[in-house]
């Protein structure tokens, strides 16, 4: 494919979470997850960068309409996670530790079915300005 182009859309959401493995003792969670395991939650400004790769459509010149992509992210991701507690308020993390890694995988899986099969998708999630993850790697 000679003409593949990557397009990116940035969105953000603010959420509370805590990291813990429910099958471990308090001490073991504290040892592995440190302050991130504190029982009353903490939170982040998550920055989400969604990358879509494909060939520009010959009729529009678009890989994907950015408005369509933005609306999709708002509907599927921001509406679901913004100003929520990821552990308590979401279906996705009822039994999944809401690490940045797992959040990125969940976001990918929520978006993927809504994109045309010919388009590739990658998700980058910033948990803090210094910690971020990519999925797929």
């Amino acid at each position: 494919m000679a003409n593949k182009v990557a397009v990116y859309r940035k969105e953000h959401f603010n959420a509370a979470h805590r990291l813990a493995n429910p099958t471990w003792s308090v001490e073991e969670n504290d040892r592995v997850f440190g302050k991130c395991a504190l029982p009353n939650y903490h939170g982040h400004n998550y920055e989400l960068i969604v990358k879509v790769i494909g060939e520009p459509d010959p009729e529009t010149g678009y890989v994907i309409d950015m408005k369509v992509l933005s609306d999709l992210i708002q509907r599927e991701i921001v509406a679901r996670f913004d100003h929520r507690n990821l552990n308590l308020d979401t279906v996705e993390f009822q039994s999944l530790n809401p690490t940045a890694e797992n959040i990125a995988i969940v976001i990918f899986n929520l978006l993927r079915p809504h994109l045309e099969i010919k388009l590739d998708l990658q998700v980058r999630l910033y948990e803090t300005p210094r910690n971020f993850v990519d999925y797929p790697a």
Binding site: N14, C36, H42, G43, H44, H83, N85, D89
Partner: protein, 136 residues
């Protein structure tokens, strides 16, 4: 007079709500920020002090020492905490960043030497929202 700013950061959960109001009234005023199970932010804290540079060091205040004062007196209490539940100086107060920044000011004051004046505490809640307090 010279001004020195040190930037520190902390991550925390909070919730905006007035316990004297109904759920409906809280939602009307605070919207998503009133979510029962909290939400959270990466907070950036800017602490500005002012003074005359010391003739022997050239410093208003050693920036490393200023960092330690902020970390020991404020960051330790706030980082990875729930601002409503876990922070002694926010007990009984509405958990807005306005009130938080005024509380941080009061925590910092006793940690600074006489010759160094606290000038401004600025707290960035999101890339689009920040608060400044000058002790007035």
């Amino acid at each position: 007079m010279v001004y020195l700013t040190r930037i520190e950061h902390f991550n925390a959960a909070h919730r905006l709500f007035n316990p004297a109001w109904t759920t409906e009234r809280n939602e009307e005023v605070f919207g998503k920020c009133a979510n029962t199970n909290w939400h959270g932010h990466n907070f950036e804290l800017y602490v500005t002090v002012k003074g005359i540079p010391d003739p022997e060091t050239g410093f208003i205040f050693n920036a490393k020492k200023l960092s330690l004062v902020i970390k020991e007196r404020v960051i330790e209490k706030l980082d990875h905490r729930n601002l409503n539940l876990d922070v002694d100086f926010m007990q009984g107060k509405l958990c807005s960043i306005e009130n938080l920044v005024m509380g941080i000011w009061q925590e910092l004051l006793p940690g600074l030497p006489e010759r160094v004046k606290l000038h401004c505490v600025k707290l960035v809640e999101t890339p689009k929202i920040y608060i400044e307090y000058y002790g007035e």
